[in-house]
Symmetry: C2
Subunit: 418 residues, 2 copies
Amino acid sequence: MTIMHDSSNPFPETVDRIFTHCRMATMAKGTYSIMENAALAVYGKKIAWIGPMDALPETLGTTWVTDCQNLWILPGFVDCHTHLIWAGSRAKEFEMRLAGASYAEIAKAGGGIVSTVRATRAASENTLFDLAAGRMAHLLTQGITTVEIKSGYGLDLESELKMLAVAGRLQKSCPQQVEATFLGAHALPPEFSDRPDDYIRHVTEAMLPGVKDQGIATAVDVFCENIAFSREQTRQVFEKALDAGFAIKLHAEQLSDSDGTALAAQLGALSCDHLEYLSLKGVQKMAAHDTVAVLLPGAFYYLRETRVPPVDSLRLMNVPIAVSTDLNPGSSPVHSMTPVLNMACLLFGLTCEQALAGATIHAAKALGLADCKGSLAPGKDADLVIWDVDTPADLCYPVGITPVKMVVIGGKTAYTRM
Amino acid sequence: MTIMHDSSNPFPETVDRIFTHCRMATMAKGTYSIMENAALAVYGKKIAWIGPMDALPETLGTTWVTDCQNLWILPGFVDCHTHLIWAGSRAKEFEMRLAGASYAEIAKAGGGIVSTVRATRAASENTLFDLAAGRMAHLLTQGITTVEIKSGYGLDLESELKMLAVAGRLQKSCPQQVEATFLGAHALPPEFSDRPDDYIRHVTEAMLPGVKDQGIATAVDVFCENIAFSREQTRQVFEKALDAGFAIKLHAEQLSDSDGTALAAQLGALSCDHLEYLSLKGVQKMAAHDTVAVLLPGAFYYLRETRVPPVDSLRLMNVPIAVSTDLNPGSSPVHSMTPVLNMACLLFGLTCEQALAGATIHAAKALGLADCKGSLAPGKDADLVIWDVDTPADLCYPVGITPVKMVVIGGKTAYTRM
């Protein structure tokens, strides 16, 4: 192809694919950063160039051109907090609760997280993989191009490794990038009833080395809460995890203020997640250590919580705010990002721009992937979604419709909607 | 085909199509009424037979058989309250509000229902039709097989007739059944500012005869509320509407108790809709007159309301409860029934069974279609959805996924998902 050179923003000599006639919200620096009448070129798996249509070479020859017909391109959604590998269903439990069953009755019928642990332990790796791959395929249709997945329904070495092995197979077989996180310290398994310290010792001494040897997980997460593990137990897991070379992240201050956030921030955690009860001190610690605040409005909605995270303080202190589905079978069976954007706006008061930055650039940072994911810029992975909308706010405003036109991952078309 | 006769539930001599190996929640009488290992036969547009697999004739010959592989069949959703014909967008207004704009600033920027009226008046019938047909096509993918559509963004004779003409074109061109409702008394148009009585006279004396002549709408609706029309103005519209042979229904007690429900019930309204502020007296009137209570949790959610409809009283008095999207560009941009089921359960405390009855059998009654829609029974229209779920509660529990496998309307496959 013939190339015209523009020294200020030169079109590259070699490109594989060009998206033309688009509007773009690049989400660079956490703002819309809108470009109209624009084009985007891909080389290999990367974005090679972004610029105005009139800077395109006059002759594109046989280059693969996708005319976006003035539709919007945004970076693919990064879902930075999910528990999407599980077996069993909690729908019956939801139904029992609405019909007036007490917690004791639901527990007697085998409900709660224990039921998910039981079903996940009992399921074969193949069964778990099929279930999870189906969920991944659906997330793809919703414009989600990177997915973090936690273990934590095994709660014994074998079952936790089985979950992470499934994450490893998803990494190989799904078009999305998968980031696997070891969450052995998610809940106390029945075998360790009333012996949380013994379980934490098991997590650090038996599980963590096994997870390290397996080589799939890159991060370690803990559920620090009065119904889960203490700040001191959290510290023990984090110190061993850091020694072993893992990144760390935390489920923190969801139901009460355990001050886990300050600990995690000081230890260099990528993110602290949930945060409804986060104190001003916690906000300051996050700001000081550049920790990402991951808000999970789906869990807030399903649990009928009333206390919202301190969004204004997080904004004032310039803490990067991410949002995520928290996809899980119990407290947040949310299988799409657009309802999360909507709830983040309506329930937590984020602006549309903040919610979209939360599902892209800040979510990438929460996974340590800010250099390659979450915004449209030369050198970043060509993970993008073409949306059939009039304005980016249309991704946050309606419910029950996700107007995806095309999902591109690493420059390849991963999904299109007729 | 060879027929085996079973005198108690004989398989019909002639059928066009059979669905085999399904589980069914027929929703007859407002309960699940579950049948397992069942089959359903269609003749023409109607359900000809429902029964157990082992009552099927041994030889089905060349009959068109769809093996449901043990998936669930439920009646197609009946969306009994929508405003799905509109032009313009309110997403920017949503964005401004979240970014801290005052109501005055939004009004100055042309926001609110006035903006929808302006855009709808300005749009050609063809433009309105294209927009509405796109929304209808999406509702089909969500398992909605009957749709009520209100006018009410025209607010002058010509524009109201244009909206109803669009509804008439949708009736002819979409697979779903469309029920059109005239809602001239939706809001006070700018031309009649401060002259609501004059506008109501215009509605009854100029618009209503025009709508009658046009022959598309079957019902007349009024928004009875302190920000819309009074009980006395509502009565005037209803009396003229009944004289002209229309069914009546009411937007009532959404933001305050105007006691419109009692009036509507006494006059034989099909339904009263919204009902957050419904009094016990209103509940009793609805019960006495068998008026359907249509709950609209989407509007409750978007308006951040805190007062929920008196669900317990409605249940105790056996008032049939329907649920609906209230699909509209301002207070309920909800483009699917499954999120409505979810919100009806989580926000209003309906059980899954009540929510599903609300979107089927009771919604059909709210449209005067209980004889042909809303449940699976011989003689009713063959409007059904095959769902890829384990249990009907799976339609109410998750967010962001609507696991439709196939939508059948009048016995014909109207949509399938790969």
